[in-house]
């Protein structure tokens, strides 16, 4: 082995803690890169294959009722390859637990293995036509401990039905099992999906020979927009409730969001680690070269040129990069399997094939090599400036200059001698100070982002369910009904206050931009919604205008005062132009709002309601409404909050990981810079020891330097954290929820506490070095 390489290996051995610290950052970064990319690929491939095998459709149309033969006619549209009609209905489940309403979404199935959105029978047997048998979606069955052979009771149109569970299934439409866009997270024990044979479905749900839910598959390569319009046109006479494209289908949309954020994380997070590692390497190598000034001079005197010496130091970075890349990608591969399985398990997807894309390993190694070579050259470039003759001479003392604080004698005089030393060291070692400040700033910024995340989700829930919408219950009817139904409810349950509502899907458009959303018709002086614009000014629903949620306005590219076109899927009222009366802040979901009477008059029918918002202290509302014929859904704000609390526990785990990752960066930067600082200042510390300073006093001096730098770093970290949050708000906001990540005083304090915690840990780790330092030897040493 070349002697320079041997020296390199021994150099690594002698500075193994520093080497290890950089290695850890690289390993973590590359591990995240490989595992997340592979998991994202595997999840994406599995999802695609799963959709393909189970024929996930291109379009979903909810209609009031369309004759069976009409669905067959749809098949005649050129470009449509398959159509399947089904009956669907949300029904309450009768169970011993009456406090919370359990809802089952029923679908009929023909039992044909080639049916669109076909179910996979995981357990049990096929359905028998005409018998009171049901398949349950696996998440619901599992959450409620239901197995084939058990019975469940449901209520449809006021009648009880007992069904035997004969199978547990998975379905591509409910990979992510949530009731609607407002639910945000799955509540698997209270919302489920059941599949009945068509004969049984018709017997229970009625509807004669009609279907109310149509799934459509297109031929590959067709113009989906044109086809969708053709389908809408044909189904319009039968009353379209909603038209949902494949990409907007709730479960699929959430899955795609999940995939997107996984890809985004896997694309950005590793770079943060690699930049940090590169940053640290530059620091380590530049300091190493500075310390090795004499060694470099001797090598040059012997006859070594600049290139081999530069390469000698750069190899340090290359070695750490290669080991980090190999370890990180191997670990990432191992984790990718576990991560993919975890994701697939979480989403109830069957594992079809676990693929390990070897290119990620090559890319990872190439990436680290690139980062490390560049950092290595930048860090070691000082080699070029060392002249052998100069290196033999003692370095001239640095130009003595007063630091800024010394020019304020009033302040300066108040410092003790050791504190003055601390100040001078901070201001004179500008590069080191900037390096550590940057590290602490980055750590604090990431910490702030991390601790803001749960707070924001918490705020989002609070804001949405207590400030934005304030009802205790949101009751939905099966069919639109006369507004007298609101009064009828007073006879069934104790109501403090109630308002009728209309909620219907419409297509909103401006120019070529279109969006299908639910428009909510609300009382002019509704007590249940409080709208505010971007400037936090109250906005009200009024005749002659429509309110749009911010995300909706953005997707249509409209603002207050612009006119939009509202297209009804229903037959009677077709199109209407309305000005946007306001753009309102809404954290969850995407909606438009109109004054109820105007909406009914101009778009629907006068006097109709589709549901009721109400406040009530009655704890038995679910139970009391169970038998009411036209009640399709009872959503309690409190139930939503409870589900959210459970969900938060899951979030806490990922927050923990993020905190750990952020902490690693801070720890490594503070640890390495302190270690370097101690090595560089052995002579200075030795002199202090001779003067009578104890090891603890010297450690305290270093600690004070770091403390001051930490404070500056944290202060600089506040705007950085704010920027991280702002950026994330934009990146992570979706059609389903809008994040407004604004750090609060609380999150700023918590981020500070965590940052300080990791800095303290790093300092404790360096104390060992101070304790072991041979000060007398340091005074004697002339390094070679």
């Amino acid at each position: 082995m070349a002697k320079l390489d041997l020296m390199l290996l021994r150099m690594i051995k002698n500075s193994k803690s520093q080497f290890l610290a950089v290695l850890i950052i690289i390993v973590v970064g590359i591990c995240v890169y490989t595992s997340m990319n592979m998991a994202s690929d595997n999840l994406g491939h599995t999802l695609d294959s799963y959709y393909e095998e189970n024929r996930f459709p291109d379009l979903f149309v909810q209609v009031m009722g369309v004759p069976v033969q009409e669905t067959e006619r749809l098949q005649g549209i050129a470009g449509v390859s398959d159509v399947s009609g089904t009956l669907t209905m949300d029904v309450p489940v009768l169970s011993a637990d009456t406090e919370r309403r359990k809802t089952l979404r029923l679908y009929t199935t023909k039992g044909d293995p080639r049916e669109l959105s076909g179910s996979i029978l995981l357990e049990g047997r096929p359905l028998s036509q005409g018998r009171k048998e049901i398949w349950l979606i696996s998440q619901y069955a599992k959450a409620n401990g239901i197995v084939p052979g058990d019975e469940i009771r449901i209520q449809v149109s006021g009648m009880d039905h007992t069904l035997t569970v004969v199978g547990v299934v998975a379905n591509p439409e409910f990979i992510y099992l949530i009731e609607n866009a407002q639910s945000i997270m799955p509540d698997e024990s209270n919302f489920g999906v059941g599949y009945l044979s068509e004969a049984t479905g018709r017997m229970i749900m009625g509807e004669g020979q009609n279907y109310n839910y149509i799934r459509i598959e297109y031929e590959p390569g067709v113009d989906e927009e044109i086809l969708t319009e053709a389908v809408e046109e044909q189904l319009k006479p039968y009353g379209i409730n909603s038209v949902t494209k494949r990409e907007n289908q709730l479960s699929n949309a959430i899955m795609q969001e999940e995939l997107n954020s996984l890809t985004m994380m896997s694309d950005s997070l590793p770079f943060l680690f690699l930049f940090t590692a590169g940053f640290i390497l530059v620091m380590i190598l530049s300091r190493m070269v500075k310390n090795d000034r004499l060694k470099v001079g001797v090598l040059k005197a012997i006859g070594y040129g600049n290139k081999p010496i530069l390469l000698h130091y750069t190899k340090y970075a290359i070695v750490v990069g290669i080991i980090g890349g190999l370890l990180g990608s191997s670990l990432g591969m191992a984790l990718a399997g576990a991560m993919t399985k975890l994701y697939l398990e979480f989403f109830n997807l069957p594992l079809l094939r676990l693929e390990f894309d070897i290119t990620y390993i090559f890319t990872a190694i190439l990436l680290t090599a690139l980062f490390c070579v560049v950092s290595g050259i930048i860090g070691a470039r000082g080699v070029l400036k060392i002249a052998p003759s100069d290196s033999m001479r003692e370095e001239p003392p640095k130009k003595g200059k007063r630091i800024l604080l010394e020019r304020a004698p009033f302040v300066w005089k108040r410092f003790s001698f050791s504190r003055k030393l601390v100040m001078k060291n901070i201001f004179r070692n500008k590069k080191r100070t900037i390096f550590v400040i940057t590290g602490v700033t980055l750590t604090y910024g990431m910490m702030m982002f991390t601790v803001t995340m749960p707070e924001v989700v918490d705020q989002l829930m609070n804001q949405h369910f207590t400030e934005f919408q304030r009802m205790d219950y949101n009751i939905g009817f099966y069919k639109p009904t006369d507004e007298s139904a609101v009064g009828d409810l007073y006879h069934l349950i104790d109501i403090d206050y109630a308002e009728g509502k209309v909620e219907f899907p419409f297509e909103l458009s401006r120019g070529h931009k279109k969006q299908s959303v639910n428009i909510l018709g609300l009382e002019k002086d509704t007590r249940f919604y409080s709208f505010k614009d971007a400037g936090d000014k109250p906005v009200y629903v009024r005749e002659g205008g429509i309110l749009l949620s911010e995300n909706l306005a953005k997707s249509l590219n409209v603002g207050t005062g612009d006119n939009i076109q509202i297209k009804s899927f229903l037959t009677e009222k077709t199109e209407l132009d309305l000005p946007v009366a306001g753009v309102i802040k809404q954290s969850l979901g995407m909606n438009a709002y109109m004054e109820i009477d105007e909406m009914r008059k101009r778009l629907l029918e006068e006097g109709m309601v589709t549901g009721v918002f109400l406040d009530s202290g009655d704890d038995a509302i679910s139970e009391k409404l169970l038998k009411a014929a036209n009640i399709a859904s009872v959503m309690s704000t409190q139930d939503m909050r409870d589900v959210y609390e459970e969900y938060m526990e899951l979030i806490i785990v990922s927050i923990g990981f993020m905190l750990f990752f952020s902490g690693i960066i801070g720890f490594c930067i503070v640890y390495i810079s302190t270690m370097i600082s101690i090595s560089e200042r052995e002579g200075e510390f030795s002199s202090l020891r001779v003067l009578g300073f104890t090891k603890m006093e010297i450690f305290r001096m270093i600690r004070r330097e770091n403390n001051m730098i930490t404070v500056i770093g944290i202060l600089a970290g506040i705007p950085v954290g704010w920027m991280f949050c702002k950026y994330s708000s934009e990146v992570f906001s979706t059609d389903i929820y809008s994040l407004d990540m604004m750090p609060t005083l609380g999150t700023a304090i918590w981020a500070g506490v965590f940052t300080v915690g990791f800095v303290v840990l790093a300092q404790l780790a360096t104390y060992r070095k101070i304790r072991k330092l041979d000060f007398l030897q340091a005074l004697k040493n002339r390094a070679g």
């Binding site: 020296m7 150099m11 012997i302």
Partner: protein, 233 residues
């Protein structure tokens, strides 16, 4: 035969905020195989002179010729090549690589030349046979200086430049080192330039160049050089 020719060499450099005139108008020749001692007190410019001769530093003005070729006109690459193949350095503080053993330190120099001496031969020549696998921290000052000398001669250079080779050593070790250098000069025919402030060492030299304040004050030939064992300081 002249191996080295120095012509009107001057050097001044910046030390912090002070400009130091290290060398003023130095001119002399050195013959092949000669043992020359450059004698002078600390700060007299002898190290600067040695650094320029060895291609480690460049003069502010003046010329250095090695075997008739002007090395002061060399670029960085040719200077490196010159140091690599023609010159061996021995330093006052040895400057051996702490992370390499005695033998590895010697090999470090051998790796970059085409026709080095055998490592065993060199190690034996400097008397380090038993200590070849020891790291510098396990060696005495004299042994470290032997490593430094071995490293210098391993490349088989024509010119051996020694900067205060006994400066950091005790008397006995100093004598041993000087004896070794003399042996290499006499037996291997290496041209040897030793700079020192120790006038007793000058008794061993074939020629003595005295310096003071950057100037050559005397250049004398020693007709009766003594052996290392005969000198005392």
């Amino acid at each position: 035969m002249t191996i080295l020719r120095i012509e009107n060499l001057c050097k001044s450099y910046q030390m912090g905020e002070v400009e130091v005139k290290a060398l003023t108008d130095a001119t002399f020749d050195i013959n092949k195989g000669e043992f020359v001692v450059v004698l002078g007190p600390s700060g007299s410019g002898k190290s600067t002179l040695l650094n320029i001769i060895g291609g480690m530093d460049s003069p502010s003005s003046g010329k250095v010729f090695f075997k008739g070729e002007e090395i002061t006109g060399f670029d960085e690459k040719r200077l490196t090549e010159f140091r690599r193949s023609r010159v061996g350095f021995v330093f006052q503080y040895y400057n051996v690589m702490a992370s390499l053993t005695a033998e590895e330190n010697v090999e470090l120099a051998m790796e970059i030349v085409e026709d080095p001496l055998s490592v065993d031969e060199v190690i034996q020549a400097v008397g380090l046979g038993e200590r070849r696998d020891h790291f510098p921290s396990q060696l005495s000052g004299g042994e470290q200086q032997r490593v430094s000398i071995a490293r210098a001669i391993a490349k088989n250079p024509e010119l051996l430049l020694c900067d205060e080779p006994t400066g950091a050593l005790d008397y006995d070790t100093g004598i041993a080192i000087m004896s070794l250098l003399r042996k290499l000069n006499r037996e291997m025919g290496k041209t040897l330039i030793v700079i020192t402030h120790n006038s007793d060492i000058a008794l061993m030299a074939d020629r003595v160049i005295r310096m003071r304040s950057g100037e050559i004050t005397e250049d004398t030939v020693n007709l009766n050089p003594v052996s290392a064992e005969e000198i005392k300081w």
